[in-house]
């Protein structure tokens, strides 16, 4: 199994960050994941996932600061 792709949102303009993240998630097939790379803890994003994709995603911290946060976001198999 190949490593999940990394989405570095630090270089994405603020207005495009969340749309890009959700487009990336939507493009996943069940069981696939990607790694989100950010310069702060993306906790509010998790709440947005819970509101819009409840029960459909996995969220696992791979690195938690202080400079970089990496979160593996997966699409849960049906």
């Amino acid at each position: 199994m190949s490593d999940p792709r990394t989405l570095d949102v630090r270089v994405i303009p603020p207005r495009e960050k969340h749309p890009t993240i959700f487009q990336t998630f939507d493009a996943l097939t069940p069981g696939e994941s990607f790694v989100l790379l950010n310069d702060h803890d993306p906790r509010p994003l998790r709440y947005q996932f819970e509101a819009e994709h409840e029960g459909q995603f996995g969220w696992r911290y791979l690195e938690q600061g202080p400079a970089v946060w990496r979160v593996e976001i997966s699409k849960v198999s049906a």
Binding site: V9, P13, P14, R15, E16, K17, H18, H40, D41, P42, R43, P44, Y47, A51, W69
Partner: protein
């Protein structure tokens, strides 16, 4: 961008009266300040359930439960969840207290945002963002010029800016010309801001103006009903401001 009205504009108004105000002005969301007349509190989940049903029928969202105290009751997470909103920690609380409250909220799985305001708003926004919490900026005409400050807030908050409380907007707008309220709105649009823009009073002395604006008052009573209430009240408020 959602456009919202804060219950702080008319603290005695019921939920129904606030909804009338939204409809009058084409607004689509409410900020509910705890303790105001809408009767939704941090303890009574039944009231929140009833309000959520009422708001769903009107297709109105709640952009936040504004709390000036920061006391997290046992039922608050359920109230917030029922209203599908977030706990808003008022900027009057010390930053350390807001961050502690936000961490507790996060541990309880409750969405939360911290209001930042005043001359240190951009620095606070940077700290809040670094702590992984959402930011709501309180733009006040006393901090003019607001346009330049808005640029700093956008830069400091990055994608963590979920709301702007525009104090002095709505019926007060003409009283604060030249202070950059229009510039704030313009900059938010250009930046692609997709959070909530909440209209709120800049001072309690404007409550009559706001209550008239939302339709809660028809006039001053005793035969003083006016034909152009907003304009006349703005003139009155301006005089009151000069006196104050």
């Amino acid at each position: 961008m959602l456009t919202a009205l804060s219950s702080a504009a008319a603290p005695r108004a019921s939920l129904d009266e606030l909804l009338v105000g939204l409809a009058r002005h084409g607004l689509t969301a409410l900020e509910l300040r705890l303790g105001d007349g809408h009767a939704i509190g941090a303890v009574d989940t039944d009231a929140a359930v009833a309000a959520a049903a009422r708001l769903a029928r009107e297709n109105v969202r709640v952009v936040g439960l504004l709390d000036r105290g920061g006391a997290m009751t046992e039922s608050l997470p359920r109230v917030v969840d029922t209203l599908r909103t977030r706990w808003l920690l008022d900027g009057a609380l010390p930053l350390g207290t807001r961050l502690e409250c936000a961490d507790r909220a996060d541990a309880a799985g409750m969405p939360v945002a911290l209001v930042v305001r005043g001359p240190d708003a951009a620095a606070e926004a940077r700290d809040v963002r670094s702590a992984g919490h959402s930011v709501v900026w309180e733009a006040h005409p006393a901090q003019a010029p607001l346009g330049a400050l808005c640029d700093r807030i956008l830069e400091a908050s990055d994608d963590m800016l979920v709301g702007v409380r525009l104090c002095g907007g709505g019926p007060e707008g003409t009283l604060h010309e030249g202070r950059g309220i229009g510039a704030v709105v313009g900059r938010l649009v250009v930046a692609g801001f997709n959070g909530a823009l909440t209209l709120a009073p800049s001072d309690r002395k404007y409550h009559v103006l706001w209550e008239t604006w939302i339709g809660r008052r028809g006039g001053w009573g005793c035969g003083s009903k006016v034909t152009e209430p907003i304009e006349q009240l703005q003139r009155t408020a301006s005089i009151a401001e000069d006196i104050a």
